[in-house]
Symmetry: C2
Subunit: 344 residues, 2 copies
DNA sequence: GTCGGTATTGGTAACGTTACCATACCTGTG
DNA sequence: CACAGGTATGGTAACGTTACCAATACCGAC
């Protein structure tokens, strides 16, 4: 039974456990470390005292000792509310757990300043490595030599001029294939909804789109290109502008999840206000989303496995952590994407 | 310029910074703490050395000092891949940031053992408080006296016999209202898709459903009740069973997000295999989901603000942290939900 | 009975940091 | 010019833990 004390009650320390068990702190430490060379009866006493006092080892103090690792991997993602990144984090966690490490997760909200803060804090907490989905602004704070030799892996997006391990999707190829499928269906006016070019996925997916158009001798029409939307509502409004053009596009290439949802919301709005369910542009969406098969217009999905992306990023990090030469040349992996055609 | 050393390169310490700047560690510490009573020229030297060496304060060592708080709040959620919990975590983070704290996020995967492990680790890392969405199994490890006086707030779900601060949704009321709306439309055979009763939301939402039925003198039909689905595929298959009943339900009350998606997927499957879009049960869904307005069958949504849930949980925690009497009686908050009728 | 070896236990120091105290300096006042 | 009162700086100890070493107890072998 714990004595119920004033608010300021502290965690018990190993000394208190030792006193309560009638042994030295070292015996407690050894017992908790597995009990080698500790008499079973003392182990029992120690464990009883631990339970009685509700003792937990102070991991901060533990990781202070020389040579002791903190057991933490810092993970910074841009938007926790986006299930894509949630699943990404799950992939990182899965691999980290396999190596006996825990992840510390932080959200940058696409804000470069918060990202810098977060990374600094991670390092201050002695993480053994970092997995970061960069927000896309200036990235001085991600340079390897500014991180005190903490290894870092970038995921999903790359940063120009930053020579570190990176895992990307096949953005260019996926966008190219998706756009091509629209061209092959006879579309020639294809709208583009996407991210700002300063974010590498925004840039790379645009390149794939443009490449497919170029092969058919079509030069991009600036009025069909909307690249400034960060959230669903902005995407919806961009879609509204495209649909209101005198010569509206007959198909849309949407470069991500948020844009696709926004575009579909605008279509839904028009359907509910009386327009029939026909005459809307076909949609190709980079990134899948739940219930895409239930949409009133055909949606072709360029899908990737967020969890796998997280796994690969983590594997890259652990490879570097275990490498004899942790300063070896940086590696870059591109994960394939799958294109699931709308079946109508 | 950092000397590029062998893999084992360590973070620089305050002593090294001090040596490099030609001052004592105390002057470095004071400078980093805001610079009171430090000559400007020395501050400049220190800051230059910090930058030069890429020094970050060791937060673990810092929090070891007596009276120093770790600045961390531990947050345990059940499923990172579910955007509901992602947004929940964002709400917690928002309030934590307001108080100058950071969150450490962990995923339990609805696994009670992992939850216990996670909480123990949080405490070992000296978090100042915990926000937990309990997984629903045994919860010995969440008892306040097992947590070394670290305050805890439960969110979304309560745990029987656990007398701690809790934030819930108005599960009973929402389920009652949603079910009532179906009854008022004339439905009498209403299926139930939900969580296992050991999870409090599963239990409470079932109670609301049953209460509405009882008011109309309808006793629940066991064949219409499916309460074992944890993921989308299981939910789809449960929906399949309901639809295949000889006297299939004319409406479905789905007690959460995952079940609603599964149910809709089954409907989609049938529509695509040739059935018309009519003759399917009306759906009421506890929890909203993106694009619910685009579904081929009307979906009434019982919506709650996940982010607000996170905010309220965090506020409860900080109230307790700042209270003079941190052992005061536990509080319970129920957040309202809104019912958005399908508009057809 | 003595010796080498092993099993068990405890003491000490060190990890990186900062609160506290002591010291040295500086400025203005009587 | 002495002295009070402030400002600036450094030394020391302590936070909780465990690696390392020292000490003790015990065992079997000679």
């Amino acid at each position: 039974m714990t004595s119920s004390m004033a608010p300021g009650t502290r965690q018990p320390t190993i000394k208190e456990v030792a006193a309560s068990a009638g042994v030295s702190p070292m015996t407690v430490s050894r017992t908790l470390a597995g009990g080698v060379n500790v008499r079973p009866d003392l182990q029992a006493k120690v464990l009883a005292a631990v339970k009685e006092l509700g003792y937990f080892r102070n991991e901060n103090a533990r990781s202070l000792r020389p040579g002791q690792a903190s057991g933490l991997i810092g993970v910074a993602i841009t938007n926790l509310g986006n299930p894509y990144y949630g699943n990404f984090a799950l992939g990182v966690e899965e691999v980290a757990a396999k190596h006996g490490k825990r992840i510390v997760l932080g959200n940058t909200g696409e804000d470069c300043g918060r990202e810098a803060q977060l990374v600094a804090d991670f390092i201050g907490r002695q993480v053994e490595g970092l997995v970061v989905v960069p927000s896309g602004g200036a990235a001085e704070h991600l340079r390897a030599d500014r991180l005190g030799d903490t290894p870092i892996v970038l995921a999903s997006r790359q940063v120009a001029g930053l020579d570190v391990d990176t895992v990307l999707l096949d953005d260019v190829g996926g966008a190219y294939q998706g756009t091509l499928s629209l061209l092959e269906s006879g579309h020639t006016r294809i709208g583009f909804l996407g991210n700002v070019p300063s974010v590498s996925t925004g840039q790379r997916r645009y390149i794939g789109y443009e490449k497919a158009l170029a092969e058919r001798g079509i030069s991009p029409d600036a009025r069909l290109i909307q690249r400034d939307q960060q959230d669903v509502e902005a995407a919806r409004s961009a879609m509204e502008r495209l649909l209101d053009l005198p010569d509206a596009p007959t198909a849309i290439f949407s470069a991500n999840n948020r844009n696709t949802i926004g575009a579909l919301k605008e279509i839904g709005r028009r359907i509910r206000s009386g327009a029939g369910a026909t005459g809307f542009p076909a949609i190709v969406s980079f990134d899948s989303f739940e219930l895409s098969e239930m949409m009133p217009v055909p949606v072709t999905v360029i899908d990737s496995d967020a969890r796998q992306l997280g796994r690969e990023a983590a594997e890259l990090l652990f490879a570097r952590l275990q490498a004899a030469d942790s300063h070896g040349p940086s590696r870059m992996i591109e994960l394939p994407v799958t294109v699931s055609m709308a079946d109508r």
